[in-house]
């Protein structure tokens, strides 16, 4: 079963800067089936939404193949500050 910790650990490998923000929520009530993943990073600056998602999809390939659904929020640091409280 995929856990919040599994995903966070994996994300930190790529989004390892001190400024990078990561938030992972298990929306399936602990069942490891549905996740919300929000990332705030300067690595997304100037990168299209599609490309941002592709980067995360590639990184979380293993996990995505095991879970039922995932919602991705791929934000620049500024966007993260603005939107993280809307989750």
């Amino acid at each position: 079963m995929v856990s919040v910790e599994d995903i966070e650990k994996h994300l930190k490998e790529k989004f390892s800067s001190e400024d990078d923000k990561i938030k992972v929520i298990d929306e399936s009530g602990g069942c490891g089936a549905k996740f919300l993943v929000a990332i705030g990073s300067s690595q997304f600056d100037g990168v299209s939404l599609l490309e941002r998602h592709r980067i995360v999809n590639e990184l979380l390939k293993e996990e995505i193949s095991q879970i039922h659904a995932i919602t991705l929020k791929t934000w620049t640091l500024k966007q993260y500050e603005e939107k993280i409280n809307t989750l």
Partner: protein, 239 residues
């Protein structure tokens, strides 16, 4: 020849009376799996024609009898599994006739018989090449088919179910957003076509559904469509 198993009940009954099973999983939409299934039949014939054979060879259409595929975690076809009293002891995933023969022989040794099935090296290599070619051709044909479908309509939604009856929350919400924005769009139900369902993931380099294509280009999945909509940018994409 190997026997076909059509239901989970049949499988359970066979399991009750037989200790050593070799089970081949195939699907009609995968030509390599049907080719390996034919090799499997040959191996089964060889093994079962021997005097003290204890192995039972079975063929299962992976999606038709999904309880069995699910039970042994079969994720792709062709896959061949070796069961000792219902327990998985070995498996051969993918199209590899000589590996299949090797594992069959190993398995029979552990059951105190000597199946000694043989797939000649050359025959095996020829078969692997043949399968590789047909896999490449199949992929080419599939990609051509996918491209045709993508271009069926300027706005094309690959979803689970159809707009009148979506079969997934994300697909449902995507349809709603498109309709709210006055989009005219075509749709394709990927639940009805395994080949496209798997092939499009590779074609798009995108692992999930729904997938929205506009003028032949991938826009993205529900998250992206929702974001674009909230930013007021989705409507700009209308052809």
């Amino acid at each position: 020849m190997a026997n076909t198993v059509n239901t989970n009940e049949e499988f359970e009954n066979i399991l009750k009376d037989n200790k050593f099973l070799v089970v081949m999983f195939w699907a009609d939409w995968s030509k390599p799996s049907t080719q390996i299934r034919d090799v499997f039949d040959q191996l089964a014939k060889q093994a079962t024609s021997q005097a003290n054979n204890k192995l039972v060879f079975l063929k299962v259409e992976a999606e038709k009898v999904h309880q069995i595929s699910g039970r042994y975690n079969v994720k792709s076809v062709p896959t061949c599994i070796f069961l000792n009293q219902g327990k998985l002891v070995q498996s051969v995933v993918g199209a590899n006739p000589s590996e299949l023969a090797l594992q069959t022989n190993n398995f029979s040794k552990t059951c105190d018989t000597a199946a000694a099935v043989v797939v000649e090296q050359q025959q095996s290599e020829e078969m692997i090449n043949k399968i590789k070619l047909s896999q490449e051709e199949e992929k080419k044909l599939l990609n051509e088919r996918i491209e045709k479908i993508i271009n069926q309509s300027p706005v094309m939604l690959f979803m689970k179910g159809n707009p009148e009856k979506p079969q997934c929350g994300f697909s449902n919400k995507t349809v709603t957003i498109l309709k709210d924005n006055g989009f005219e769009f075509g749709s394709f139900d990927i639940l009805q076509d395994q080949a496209v369902r798997n092939g499009l993931k590779e074609y798009s380099n995108w692992p999930t559904y729904p997938q929205l294509y506009i003028n032949g280009k991938l826009v993205g999945g529900y998250d992206i469509i929702k974001d674009l909509n909230e930013e007021g940018e989705l409507i700009d994409l209308k052809p």
